[in-house]
């Protein structure tokens, strides 16, 4: 599930999900490919995995644990339940018309970039795209775990894959209109898939390279036809999608905004600040990245599926930009705004957690913070050196830096707790256990001595926001304590994520984050540590460790193949792969974060989709 803030945006920059528009496409890390097992040769050189990293945002507020952590590897600090504490009313049965109307005001420090749903790759706007754009399929727009479910959206139903899992025939719903009044037709669907490549969507090479004809589209986007790949039948009102090979994760990929259906008249370049007509309950009325984004009701919207696209409540949604996060918190406290996108600053957490507790919702995320270690340059080209880092880092200390055990939990595995394929296992904890207990500095020091790397200089590259810098300083202290001469390089959010991907920068170790795109283990393991995800010298090389083990890669390929027949069997294999990767230690997983949503008093019907986060169009202000 593509979700929210996550995954792979290689090439994007900093903020939450990442702006594809800012990414240069020149490599196709296989990350995304991960999902399209047999088409490595097709991977375009411009594919950019989505980054996951929403740093700033999650940095401060994020953190650990609850619900998911119940079954997590989080040791003693693992919470067991969500900290949401709202007393605001919530819709329990159907649409409640008496709450319709009013204006929801959202705040963010900055805008999220282009409004083009095929280009934007930020959590900030993917959240809005849920109420505006639709694909053939979509993630269910509901609260909780059910939000990971894929449901038919503009398609009447989800077809069974035929032709050995390589062909899908989608019947298109009739009577749906774009916000400009034109009908949604099968031609729009075909044009929309072509547009993915024409605008060089950041996931074009990753998610959609498995469509027949995609290889040519990736080579020459301007003339993309996807001939034989996406075929319209006007008579039957169906769209047939042919894949080169079966892809068990294909429906997830159809459900993210990059696969949204736009009018065939939409520009074949990044639409930028100009809104593209929508199909959902809202449309964009105006957008000035320096000041505000205004969404109003789509006059041509009629609810066709409550699961896929429910009717919204507010008449208008105003997103205002420019306030500092401190000022935004105060505005929400004073009722001048309904919600702020950015995580509340660390020194305001206690205040809002006590004085405004009923308005605060803490949500577990399928994400993790980790420290990728470059396995191709000293000192971490030495296995013992990498294992020493895993032994030395006290995950509980990092939990404290992120706001305490209610906002983060320690992790020992690459797959976050609660994620498909996750099995509690902790190879680097003292005393031994399946969940995090504590570090073993003595063992770490001995490993460093045995590795012959003691005394070497190590630079830790982090972003320059408060929380990441604090984590970097902590890591520096740890590395110094086990025998290295560590320094911290704090660089701008805007460039750190791409900087640490490029092997030419010779980054030894860094601190970064990864958020799921959709709920599949490959989205973490194969994307982050698959051989095809490492492109030397590229800013779009999401395998920052430069790790490539042929044996483990074969296991991952096998797991992907198994997904075609049994996800459960595949997840067993992914768990084994996770364990093998931890033994090799190309990364030091640190913590899994939680998200703080702070609403003003009187804002009701808070619903949190695990896939796309808070459903802004379901909020009540009346």
């Amino acid at each position: 599930m593509p979700a929210v803030a996550q995954c792979s945006d290689v090439g994007n920059d900093s903020v939450p999900m990442h702006r594809a528009s800012s990414i240069s496409v020149a490599h196709i890390p296989r990350a995304c490919q991960v999902h399209v097992v047999t088409i490595e040769s097709l991977r375009p050189a411009d594919w950019t995995p989505m980054k996951l990293h929403r740093l700033a945002a999650m940095s401060m507020a994020a953190t650990l644990a609850l619900g998911l952590t119940a079954c997590s590897s989080g040791g003693s600090t693992t919470p067991t339940d969500s900290a949401s504490a709202s007393t605001a009313p919530t819709a329990t049965a159907g649409y409640q018309a008496e709450h319709a109307g009013g204006t929801v005001t959202l705040l963010a420090k900055g805008a999220g970039g282009t409004l083009d749903p095929k280009v934007n790759y930020t959590l900030q706007y993917w959240q809005l795209f849920q109420a505006t754009y639709d694909g053939l399929t979509g993630f269910k727009k509901v609260n909780g775990e059910d939000s990971f479910t894929v449901v038919p959206d503009l398609a009447e139903s989800i077809p069974e894959a035929t032709n050995g899992g390589k062909t899908y025939v989608f019947p298109l719903r009739k009577g749906i209109k774009f916000s400009d009044g034109t009908d949604v037709t099968v031609d729009d669907v075909v044009a929309s898939f072509q547009r993915i490549f024409k605008v060089s969507s950041p996931t074009a090479g990753g998610f959609y390279a498995g469509i027949v004809g995609a290889d040519l589209c990736l080579t020459t986007p301007a003339t993309c036809t996807l001939d034989g790949g996406v075929v319209a039948d006007k008579t039957a009102n169906t769209v047939t999608i042919n894949l080169i090979a079966p892809d068990p994760e294909f429906l997830y990929k159809l459900s993210v905004p990059h696969a949204a259906i736009n009018p065939k008249s939409a520009p074949v370049t990044d639409a930028g600040n100009a809104p593209i007509p929508t199909t959902g309950p809202y449309m964009f009325k105006s957008y000035d990245p320096n000041t505000s984004l205004v969404m109003v009701r789509n006059p041509n919207f009629t609810e066709w599926s409550t699961d896929a696209q429910p009717k919204g409540y507010p008449d208008e949604i105003d997103y205002k930009f420019g306030l500092t996060v401190e000022a935004s918190v105060t505005a929400v406290e004073n009722g001048q705004a309904n919600w702020l996108y950015d995580p509340p600053p660390a020194d305001r957490l206690a205040e809002i957690g006590t004085k405004y507790a009923p308005q605060v919702h803490v949500e577990p995320l399928t994400a993790y913070w980790y420290a990728p270690m470059n396995v191709n340059i000293p000192p971490f080209n030495n296995l013992q050196a990498r294992q020493a880092v895993n032994w030395a880092v006290d995950r509980n200390s990092i939990v404290q830096l992120l706001g305490g055990p209610k906002l983060a939990a320690p992790v020992c595995t690459l797959l976050p707790p609660g994620f498909p394929g996750h099995v509690d296992d902790c190879q680097y904890t003292n005393p031994a256990g399946t969940t995090w207990q504590g570090p073993d500095l003595a063992k770490a020091k001995q490993l460093v001595l045995d590795s012959g790397t003691a005394g070497q200089s190590v630079a830790i590259v982090v972003t320059d926001d408060e929380v990441n810098k604090a984590v970097g300083e902590y890591m520096q202290s740890v590395l110094n304590s086990i025998g290295y001469k560590a320094t911290v390089k704090a660089i701008s959010n805007n460039i750190q994520f791409t900087y640490i991907q490029n092997s030419n920068n010779k980054v030894q170790i860094s601190v970064t984050q990864w958020y799921q795109d959709y709920p599949a283990a490959s989205d973490f393991l194969n994307v982050l540590l698959g051989c095809a995800s490492f492109t030397p010298g590229s800013d779009s090389s999401i395998n920052m460790s430069g790790y490539c083990d042929k044996t483990i890669q074969a296991q991952m390929d096998d797991a992907l193949t198994t997904e075609q027949t049994s996800m459960d069997d595949a997840n067993v294999k992914w768990a084994a792969i996770d364990k093998a990767l931890m033994t090799a230690s190309p990364q030091a997983p640190l913590i899994t974060p939680q998200l703080v949503n702070f609403l003003s008093a009187g804002t009701g019907n808070y619903q949190f989709s695990k896939q796309f986060y808070m459903l802004v169009d379901q909020l009540w202000v009346k």
Binding site: A83, A85, P345, A346, D347, R348, L349, A350, E351, I352, G353, T354, K355, A357, V360, V362, D394, N396, S397, Q400, L401, G403, G404, P405, K406, L407, S457, A459, D464, E466, K469, A470, G472, E473, Y474, Q476, S477, V478, N480, S481, T487, V488, K489, A490, I491, V596
Partner: protein, 342 residues
């Protein structure tokens, strides 16, 4: 004639102690300058005692993370970083000021480190960077200003245009640009290698960017001195350029440079703090007053002392340096004496 000579040698002329001793006497008579000097002395002494304080009073390393550390309250250990237990239990707050010198006097920062220890260590770096960069600045400025002012012509034109170029950049913008480029890179200058994060880098950057501010008046003063009678007399007596510079020009320019020294030290300290606040000056885990202020920014609502303490120290030191510099200026400037400034 004999009587006349006797009268001259026996009058106040015999009591004149020379310009430097006279200047020092004047400084000592200036209560504000003396008071500032005492304040500076106390601050410097306290900062020099930082290792002693950290090792023998706080018993805590000022540069290592202490996130899970504890401190004793009535014999009971308490966490230095305390997790909120009220409400939803969000947030972690470091201990605030205890006003107990042996127990987190000014509280802890977000790494659990003692703020007082880092304040003292930070003062060492801030003062050292401020003073050394001021010396570098004054030496370079003196060299450039005297050479340009004395020789004039093409050499003056080249040097002056160089100063103009340097002066054309807003000083903080130039400092930020240089720091961003250099601070995270290893710099090779001939046989000298400056590693990333080296404290020498901010010293050099700050020392260089202020050269025009000192070199300009020095050049003007040198041009003026070159036309003075005593210099012309030396020229007429056949003195070489080297001798003229050494014996006539430099001694007269030196008081100006000395006056600049404390003033530039204060300015450079502020610049260093600004760069460190922006994370492009002193690099962690080292401390300066700027980095400590930066550490405190995220704690302003809950632990404001982390940012306030270094800010206050910076202000006191800068004011003291300026007042002391004013005293020196008054003492070394004969015109000021004639005006009755001392």
């Amino acid at each position: 004639m004999n009587t006349s000579k006797t009268d001259i040698s026996s009058t106040p002329a015999t009591q004149y102690a020379g310009p430097w001793r006279t200047a020092w006497r004047d400084v000592r008579r200036n209560k504000v300058a003396v008071g500032s000097l005492v304040v500076l002395f106390i601050i410097i002494a306290a900062c020099l005692a930082a290792p002693w304080y950290a090792d023998h009073v706080m018993h805590l390393d000022a540069f290592s993370s202490n996130i899970n550390g504890t401190y004793l309250v009535n014999g009971v250990p308490k966490p230095v970083l305390e997790t909120s237990t009220s409400g939803l239990g969000l947030g972690v707050n470091p201990i605030g000021p205890t006003w107990d010198p042996a127990n987190f006097f000014l509280g802890a920062d977000n790494q659990g480190r003692d703020v007082m220890s880092r304040l003292l260590y930070g003062g060492r770096n801030s003062l050292m960077i401020g003073f050394v960069s001021a010396v570098i600045c004054c030496v370079l400025a003196g060299l450039v200003g005297v050479v340009a002012g004395y020789f004039g012509g093409g050499l003056d034109a080249v040097l002056s245009r160089g100063l103009d170029v340097l002066w054309a950049f807003p000083v903080y913008l130039l400092a930020i640009c240089l720091s961003v480029v250099l601070i995270n890179a290893t710099l090779d200058i001939g046989p000298i290698t400056l590693t990333s994060g080296s404290i020498i880098l901010p010293i050099l950057i700050i020392g260089v960017i202020y050269v025009p501010y000192v070199a300009r008046p020095i050049r003007g003063q040198t041009m003026s001195l070159r036309e003075r009678e005593f210099v012309q007399a030396s020229v007429g007596a056949g003195a070489t350029d080297a001798r003229l510079l050494r014996r006539e020009i430099l001694p007269n320019v030196l008081p100006t440079l000395i006056v600049f020294l404390p003033l530039m030290t204060a300015i450079n300290m502020l610049t260093e703090s600004a760069l460190s606040f922006l994370s492009i000056g002193v690099q962690p885990p080292d401390a300066s007053w700027g980095t400590v202020i930066n550490d405190g920014v995220g704690l302003l609502y809950t632990r404001p002392m982390v940012a306030i303490a270094p800010g206050v120290m910076l202000a006191i030191t800068a004011v003291a340096l300026n007042l002391f510099g004013d005293g020196i200026r008054d003492a070394l400037d004969p015109k000021a004496r004639l005006r009755g400034a001392v």
